[in-house]
Amino acid sequence: MAMTMQGEVTLPADRAAVWAALNDPDVLKASIPGCQELEKISDTEFQAIAKVAVGPVKATFKGGVTLSDLDPPNGYTISGEGQGGIAGWAKGGATVRLEDIEGGTKLVYDVEANVGGKIAQLGGRLINGVAKKYADEFFGNFAKILSPEESAA
């Protein structure tokens, strides 16, 4: 079952710094909720392992993450596909655009995701809420890493 989600966040860093962070596996790993591993295969490909819970279904997803439509330092498309064993599968992508604003950078995202198997069967009605929560967590973590106090530490 498919879902879509749009949003934007304001980040307290300049566009170049945000762009660099968006391409930094360590930052991404620290930002992705439940991410246990994010291994760089090439400049645009990663292998990831993440723990995800949707309602009663908890699973470890293994899959690949690809960056495309690279337009430094304005944005890219990040897409991924993961298998969660008998929990099912998930795939999706987000286009990310960066804009300069007063005091930092505005990040605009547009997510499209699809899940199947047990997650869809049992977590169907929860999936939008969970996706929103994960997105909020991701950008919360991401913003925290980019904030001056965090950089200074």
């Binding site: 079952m1 047990k118 869809a120 069967q121 049992l122 009605r125």
Partner: protein
């Protein structure tokens, strides 16, 4: 009528064990050395399997074996079959794609069987399944019934446009002519929503192999264990028929879903020999949602033509029937011969033409579910009649009455020959019980409270007692649909009846015993009903289509007649009279015109000791068998009236009154019959108001738990007012018509007709959830009556 004979409301004998937790279901059986099977199922609706790597899983703790479709193919195990051949209009046979028990190269619905893990414990099997690596190439999927043939997705090689068959019934030219001269034509578009059967007991299978005798045993949740054995041996080839014993013990509800022969039991029997240990599988509820054959799923456009007097002169119907990703055992018969022949309803309609396009989709297989085709037909006819009445400004009850068949036998234009019935009598009784005359006052009273009240009729007919073997054979059935029985009288005079019918909630242990008690004049507790074991019962066709009374009991009655005939011979020897002078009455054999009698028990004993038999003419023993093949379908019919009250602010529909007047022919046990009616109505109300299985566009089942699939509960139902009329069925010796499906057939149009009456709105889709009803109510919101 005796206290335990035909017509007596005897309490169900089997309920003692059911309500005290002493029933024995498949999962209650455990065999020494038993292993547990877990099926890895496809999370994709449609995908090519590039590879399956079971290596890492095989070395997991407790794993005994892992099998895939390749292993079944290597052992030349055949695919699952569809046992009813349908031919398209152009004469071509239906397009049956391969249906392997474990996927071979491709998966076609979410829940399709990819591999089986057999392990020491279920948890170990599940853990190992997690470690199997399947490389899928995900393909686009189509789940929507109406879109199946328009999609570029191709599910089976044999059917490029996903059509299984384009079938038709009736007379097209006569029907077109009727429409050409019609005064009025009523049109309707309907969806008969897909349902998940949801028996209380999920499916289960336990396979065992005895290498010493080369014998196989399968314990399975089956409504027809002999048919399962026949299919597993003759078609799938897992074991020779005489070496395979199939046991269907207590089964907790079937509703059709346990008629079919599925992948899981096939694999359990086969794997038991492979691993040399018993293999048990028990479905969990999610698996049941995904892989039990679903019901209904029709998209229909229908039109009814009436003349200037409101007489129905023609009916034409076009239906798209979703059969899912594979053809289940009897799937092809449901939207064809179990559907279109019922489109005449209770009405004298001279011309009917029906076209059915059956399609594949990337969804679970669809097959018979309580009513099987007949609820779909009744929904079409009864929605159309109701709508016609409204368009013509006629009373819906009186329009029905005007069109009822009144002369019997009545040949419809769609195969069926109705043998008997009195539809007006049922209508009159229902109108009286429902207090129809004062409905306007109740409607007004509801309006005063800001509520919308509506009344809806359903004047249904069904074809039960399935079925005359010659007739169904000519229509494409792969089997005959007779039934067998054996009546074994013991030397002590107690009786065991071995029946090919299978009880999974119907109460056969009681009703069948009532027949024996009635006919042989022995106490009901002297009678045992034996069923569900191919080693005990010689053969049988099982229980579905409300056939066990009309067909199964008729076989028993036939065997009882033979027992009485033999008993007369025994009595003649013992009483030293001529056989022709022996009469059997009130449980006693007597010599006519004398007071010399022998009780049934005495004759039984004499039959076995044979001390008084002279010569070789008479064989010892008292045991007789019979096969009964019906000569016609039976035609239960009745009128259900549903009265609802809708809260336009919340969209909640409350069923305020339910009146059911049914003609089931002769009734064996009114209490059980009433229970069947209650259960059937509950299921029909579930379909109308609550239940619906939905797949999203990618073929994911998004109603796969009771969280998202709403079953009817007591609070959703009123106290039913049930009445009966009786016209005995002329085609079987007991006059029985059958009652098991009536409620589920009658109920959905009654509910929807009542809701649309309340809303003043011509259609609302099932399930008519509060959301759907609220939306419809907003559209047609009428000014409330002044306080």
């Amino acid at each position: 009528m005796t206290a335990t004979g035909i017509g007596a409301p005897v309490r169900r004998k089997e309920d003692q064990r059911f309500v005290t937790g002493q029933g024995r279901y498949v999962d209650d059986f455990n065999r020494p050395g038993q292993t547990y099977a877990y099926f890895l199922r496809s999370p994709h609706a449609h995908a090519t399997i590039r590879s399956i790597n079971t290596g890492p899983a095989k070395i997991m703790p407790g794993v005994v074996a892992i099998f895939t479709g390749d292993d079944l193919a290597a052992d030349k195990i055949g695919g699952l079959i569809c046992g009813w051949m349908i031919h398209s209009k152009d004469g071509s046979p239906m397009k049956a794609g391969p249906h392997p028990a474990l996927a071979q190269g491709k998966v076609r619905y979410v829940g399709d069987h990819v591999a089986v893990v057999i392990a020491e414990t279920l948890a170990q099997a599940k853990d190992a399944a997690e470690a199997i690596v399947v490389d899928y190439e995900v393909l686009p999927a189509v789940a929507d019934t109406a879109q199946a043939t328009k999609s570029s997705v191709q599910i089976h090689d044999v059917s490029p446009d996903n059509t299984v068959f384009n079938w038709h019934l009736g007379n097209k030219d006569e029907t077109e002519a009727a429409f050409a001269r019609a005064k009025h034509v009523t049109k309707i578009d309907l969806v008969n929503n897909r349902l998940v059967p949801n028996a209380l007991e999920p499916r289960a299978a336990l396979g065992e192999y005895d290498p010493g005798n080369d014998n196989y045993t399968l314990y399975t949740t089956s409504q027809n264990p002999h048919v399962a054995r026949l299919v597993l041996s003759a078609f799938i080839g897992v074991a020779p028929e005489h070496k395979l014993r199939v046991i269907a013990p207590d089964v907790g509800g079937g509703f059709g879903s346990k008629i079919f022969i599925y992948a899981e039991e096939t694999v359990c029997v086969w794997a038991a020999k492979k691993v040399k240990r018993p293999v048990k599988w028990t479905s969990d509820r999610t698996e049941a949602f995904l892989s039990d054959a679903h019901g209904r799923d029709h998209v229909t456009h229908a039109e009814m033509a009436t003349d200037e007097n409101g007489k129905i002169i023609g009916l034409r119907v076009h239906t798209i029937a979703n059969l899912g990703a594979y053809l289940s055992t009897f799937s092809s018969s449901v939207p064809t011969y179990l559907y279109a022949p019922l489109l005449s309803g209770q009405y004298d309609i001279p011309a009917i033409y029906c076209e059915v396009d059956a399609v594949y989709t990337n969804t679970a297989p669809v097959d018979a579910y309580r009513g099987a085709g007949r609820p779909e037909a009744t929904f079409v006819v009864e929605r159309l009649v109701e709508k016609t009445a409204r368009e013509l400004g006629q009373d819906p009850a009186e329009l029905r009455r005007k069109n009822y068949v009144t002369q019997f036998p009545h040949q419809t234009p769609v195969i069926m020959a109705y043998d008997t019935g009195d539809y007006a009598a049922s209508l009159d009784k229902a109108l009286e019980l429902a207090d129809y005359k004062t409905f306007p006052q109740r409607k007004q009273e509801s309006a005063r409270r800001g509520k919308l009240r509506g009344i809806g009729f359903s004047s249904y007919i069904e074809a039960c007692g399935i079925a005359p073997s010659q007739a169904v054979g000519s229509l494409g059935a792969g089997v005959g649909l007779w039934e067998s029985a054996e009546v074994r009288v013991n030397p002590t005079g107690s009786v065991e009846v071995l029946t090919g019918s299978h009880s999974h909630g119907q109460g056969h242990e009681t009703t069948f015993a009532q027949l024996v008690s009635d006919r042989l004049g022995i106490p009901i507790d002297q009678v045992s009903i034996v069923h569900g074991d191919t080693d005990k019962v010689q053969f049988g066709m099982g229980t579905y289509g409300s056939r066990s009374g009309a067909v199964g009991m008729s076989a028993i009655a036939k065997a009882i007649d033979k027992v009485i005939a033999k008993g007369k011979k025994v009595a003649a020897h013992v009483l030293e009279a001529s056989e022709g002078d022996i009469e059997f009455k009130d449980g006693k054999f007597g010599v006519a015109g004398t007071d010399k009698t022998l009780g049934f028990g005495e004759v039984a004993l004499q039959a076995y000791i044979a001390h008084k038999f002279s010569g070789q003419d008479l064989e010892p023993g008292l045991k007789e068998g019979a096969f009964y093949d019906p000569t016609n379908f039976t035609f239960p019919a009745g009128v259900h009236i549903c009265e609802v009250e809708i809260d336009p602010d919340t969209g909640v529909t409350k069923i305020e009154r339910w009146t059911a007047v049914d003609d089931f022919g002769v009734i064996i046990n009114p209490m059980i019959v009433e229970g069947q009616v209650h259960g059937g109505i509950a299921q029909g109300v579930g379909q109308a108001l609550l239940e619906g299985a939905f797949y999203d566009q990618s073929g994911q089942l998004i109603t796969a738990s009771f969280n998202d699939y709403c079953m009817p509960r007591a609070i959703d139902l009123p106290s039913f007012q049930v009445g009966m009329t009786v016209t005995p069925c002329p085609s079987n010796p007991l006059g029985i018509k059958g009652c098991g499906e009536a409620g589920a057939i009658a109920a959905p149009p009654a509910v929807i007709n009542a809701i649309t009456d309340a809303l003043g709105h011509e259609d609302i889709a099932m399930p008519a959830t509060p959301q759907a009803v609220w939306r419809a109510a907003q559209k047609t919101r009428m000014p409330m009556a002044a306080e």
